[in-house]
Point group: C3
Chain length 456, copies 3
């Protein structure tokens, strides 16, 4: 089989047939890191570095492993062409990592460049990409349409004005892009910049928070505001999903101590975070939003990166020792039958636990796509193969790109759809499901399920 | 390949050849949840709901995921036909879950109904099943014989009179069905109904327990009684396998406090449970019984179900964070070379640890079948593929159905045998074992090993 | 396919083609348990028991599982022929375990004996092996050359005189065998023989340690001495990789208490071990050695073996609950960009965590081969399949045999190379990489990568 050809990831005729039935379905992408402002401006992408690497720490991490100097990744002073050349020179070494496939898919499927990235081809690809990106159909808004994106949800802070989401309503993308309510900064009371963030939240609502109830009320105001702008989900990036039942008075005491800049005990942090998460869950339940929890990322572990470049630059890991059951069960019980939940799975050592949890908590609690470092072909395949044997595959939440660059949205969904077709094809080939049922299953997970679940 | 046809789960000719050699072997089923009373009464099954869903919370959990109302699952007032129609309507959505295969296997292999369960076929299957179930060869006792069950072990409380096991000795099933000694209720000192249970145990032996030694002695009396009724094994359902070395006096102190209704500390619970488990292990060792430990089930996590319907209704999960090594090692060392042990594996994150443990503790410590939410084709295949690379496959304890419904015993063993043949076929196809050795291996695990290990 | 034939472990033509390109490459084996003294003496192996089982507790553990009496494994009084007969009688039962393949590979590839080990063939194989082992080309030194070992690193204590490594320089193996600095005994302050070991270390440097700094200085002296004898790496066998930042004064206080024979608290042990590990890391960094950490072995768990036979006799396991991230992160940060690290992966439940860690810490931190109970075909395949999707496969450290017997070095590397070719072949067959890139990848990991990384 040839690299990225029609049979890419499809191990047999059955898988290929199933993929054929879903390849052209529109994209519903309920979680990503879209730059909405850039989408509004609709400026053409200048070059291939900008589209493929400038905003994507997945790529940086892989290049660091091959010895590319930090300046050639993240220093704004270094010209993109130099960065691209450094990237191309080591790119063949990335084989096996999904980044190798994603970037080549973007080139081949979107830019029409069917070449292998390497030192010899660096200049040629650079030039061809420049030419391609200059064409009107490669502008951001046109790309979204060309990729058949029917709905996509960005990731936004409660204090965001959503002015760019608003501005998009006057473009051909009206109704396509929605915000997602992600109050991590309000939640992360253990971070040094939490007090400053709370002040910004006060400013956002022209208020002054004397009690935790005031902060919750401010979140409610912004939650309503997000709803007015088409939001259908909240999202929470947590290492441990603290969802203990907490008393408002106890949480308020932590809030007061934190605002005075006092050092908090671990249990105080857990109390505060549990309380706020629970309150957002209540807001979501009232609006029938989807409550998404991205579990298990241990962030900013590499001091060298964090100190020099800051968050979202790499150095993020997961830990098989992350506790999930004990902290999350109280929240699931409290919100049972009232709240739509999606749990995302980063470390494969947590897969069974998460699948057991989503199985146990009925119709509204769903397993999300294999996430982040788990969303390769092999990560997703192992997850899908197992999840269906415990939970019900039809209840899974489908694919989200989680992408940090526009060009890759379609590639991410293509890899998922091919993997899904391959998993379902294997079920068919082993005589575990009949054809008509398998066809329904792949269509459902590729498109209908996220559309229905998120109400898009 | 067609759904559930001859090649079901068999990925090549080698696997098919191996399966042909074991498909007709008798069934040894050392652990299940057989309703012995129903088997004695031998009343015909009234309908398909009764045989497939009425007693099986595996099915309920899957149907809940597809939105079937609780009343249509567990309310005795709702007619079975209504329940069946609700089940059939969503059944195609369960594709990928083993329940989808098990129920269809029962229909096809036992009832001779080769139709897909769905809304359109609900009535037809209902009627055909009624007709089939009315035939004499579909009565419970006849079914056990038809499924070639040579031996099967139910799960019983020490206070059980075993009168139904006794009554079976006057039927064609004489010698086939054996009780298993499962003293979970005596062990679970943390449960609110433990004091009441202890009183029932006192009544069972006409005694009054003043010390923990009296309770142990009562267990010994019932243990002997079980032995007289053909029992060959104990079984223990534990979240954490507490097997610490404990002093009788310390355990006795906990016993006294518990009887007085005092609240226990965690370490007291662990002390008591470790002590009682150790004493049962000693009883088993003296009789050369098999000591089975079902590890890692975190039960009754969903309050909604537990409060309304009670235990064994769903809401059970597992947790990758369950500790196994530290609590279990003392018991394994204390009983080393004296006690036959089978450890069952629920969460795949524990598989390697369990396989390492059974490897390390010699001939008598064995890995059991992938258990509960892990006993699908994929769960068993991944377990078998890995276990043999660490421990010795020939030492594994073989399949137990763990089934909660009679009709599924053969289906569960069929899925195991096909999976086993597929795993062994892959070993052959990769040149890792010679044919004669593979043939011996599959016969051994499918039949001879459990027969020998449990002395059946 | 026939047992161990040309297509052994290769599932398709692509895999076979890739394997053909690496099968004859020289062997770089950066970690094993070579008996250097025996290699110097170059005495012929007396018989098949001596080459295959006498020094290898992998084999003992499997035979114990099949009921072979301890005396027939480890009692020096029992003649080897009796031991071999007992081994042969149960050997077919080991099918599926890699030991079954390794031993047969040694027979077939090295000794030219193409027979299945079983009771009937025991005598025949014994005699043929005796005849084969008597030939000059089967002497230890000749074997190393015949297996094309270009470089191999033994495992040595800091107090080792390295006289045998020195003596090898006057043989045809000059430059091939290198020592590895493994200061576990200096680190393991919790063991009862630590005080005695420290005295031996004092004697080694003609010193008297008054402070921990004196012990560190002694390690530095031996570290230099190892460097003079061609050493390129240290190695550390730890259950938990304690790498906390510790103050010398605190570590010194533990050191003093330990020397006085006082009982240590857990946190004191962690303090001491973290400090010493960190100091060795600094020494390695200064010499640009590779710092190897074998994580997660929980040793000597079976009292029966440990009490009767001692360490390295079996009874070793791993635990999914081993903490890695928290204890190791401080060390990785402190040594970031300064130290070449290889982390070895024993329990598959840790694989993702380790792959995330090596991904996050840049060019110098590498994932080692699947280790010990994880280095079967299935263990290595699952590890390689996953690791590349997170970290970069080209950065993995390649294969180490970890072997405890000379005859198996080539077999271990053969299994790895076939597994690697099969994994890369699958990437090609799924269209995930182009051919030229896959070819480079397999050559790199099979040979060039360890050569380059260890500077061999």
């Amino acid at each position: 089989m040839a690299f990225l050809d029609d049979r890419y990831l499809l191990s047999g005729d059955t898988a290929a047939e199933l993929y054929g039935q879903i390849r052209d379905l529109p994209i519903i992408d309920a979680h990503n890191h879209l730059d909405v402002k850039a989408l509004v401006s609709n400026a053409p992408f200048p070059d291939i570095w900008e589209t493929e690497a400038a905003t994507d720490h997945y790529v940086w991490e892989c290049l660091r492993k091959r010895g590319v100097a930090e300046a050639l990744l993240t220093d704004p002073e270094v010209p993109n062409r130099e960065k691209w050349d450094a990237m191309a020179a080591v790119f063949p070494d990335l084989a096996g990592n999904p980044t190798y496939e994603w970037v080549h898919l973007d080139l081949k499927r979107i830019l029409g460049i069917d070449e292998l990235i390497c030192a010899e081809n660096a200049e040629g690809i650079w030039e061809k990409a420049r030419a391609a990106l200059a064409r009107p159909e490669m502008r951001p808004q046109a790309l979204v349409q060309r990729m058949k994106v029917e709905a996509m949800c960005s990731t936004d802070d409660p204090i965001d004005s959503l002015e760019f989401h608003q501005a998009l309503q006057d473009t051909p993308l009206a109704g396509v892009v929605r915000p997602t309510f992600r109050p991590d900064r309000a939640m992360n009371v253990f971070k040094h910049d939490w007090p400053e963030y709370v002040e910004r939240l006060e400013a956002r609502v022209n208020g002054s928070f004397r009690r935790i109830g005031d902060l919750i009320e401010a979140l409610r105001v912004t939650h309503d505001y997000f709803a007015d702008h088409g939001c259908v989900a909240s999202d929470h990036g947590v290492e441990v999903p603290f969802g203990y039942d907490m008393d408002e008075e106890d949480a308020n005491e932590v809030f007061r101590r934190a605002r005075r800049g006092e050092e908090l005990e671990d249990e105080e942090v857990i109390c505060y975070m549990s309380y706020v998460l629970g309150e957002v869950a209540e807001m979501d339940a009232r609006k029938d939003w989807v409550f998404q929890v991205h579990i298990g990322a241990v962030r900013d572990m590499r001091d060298l990166l964090y100190d020099d470049i800051g968050p979202d630059s790499g150095g993020d890991i997961s830990d098989h020792m992350t506790d999930i059951v004990e902290p999350l069960i109280p929240l699931l019980n409290r919100m049972d039958e009232r709240l739509k939940v999606v749990l995302y799975n980063l470390n494969p050592a947590h897969t069974a636990t998460l699948a057991h949890l989503t199985r146990a908590f009925g119709e509204k609690v769903n397993l999300g796509a294999a996430w982040w470092l788990n969303d390769s072909y092999m990560g997703m395949r192992r997850q899908l193969e197992f999840v269906g044997t415990v939970d019900v595959l039809m209840n899974c939440a489908g694919m989200v790109s989680d992408s940090r660059k526009l060009l890759s949205y379609a590639s991410r969904h293509e890899v998922f759809r091919r993997t899904l077709a391959d998993v379902a094809g294997a079920l068919l080939d082993r005589g575990q499901v009949p054809m008509a049922v398998a066809e329904r299953l792949v269509r459902h997970l590729a498109y209908e399920r996220p559309k229905q679940l998120f109400g898009l």
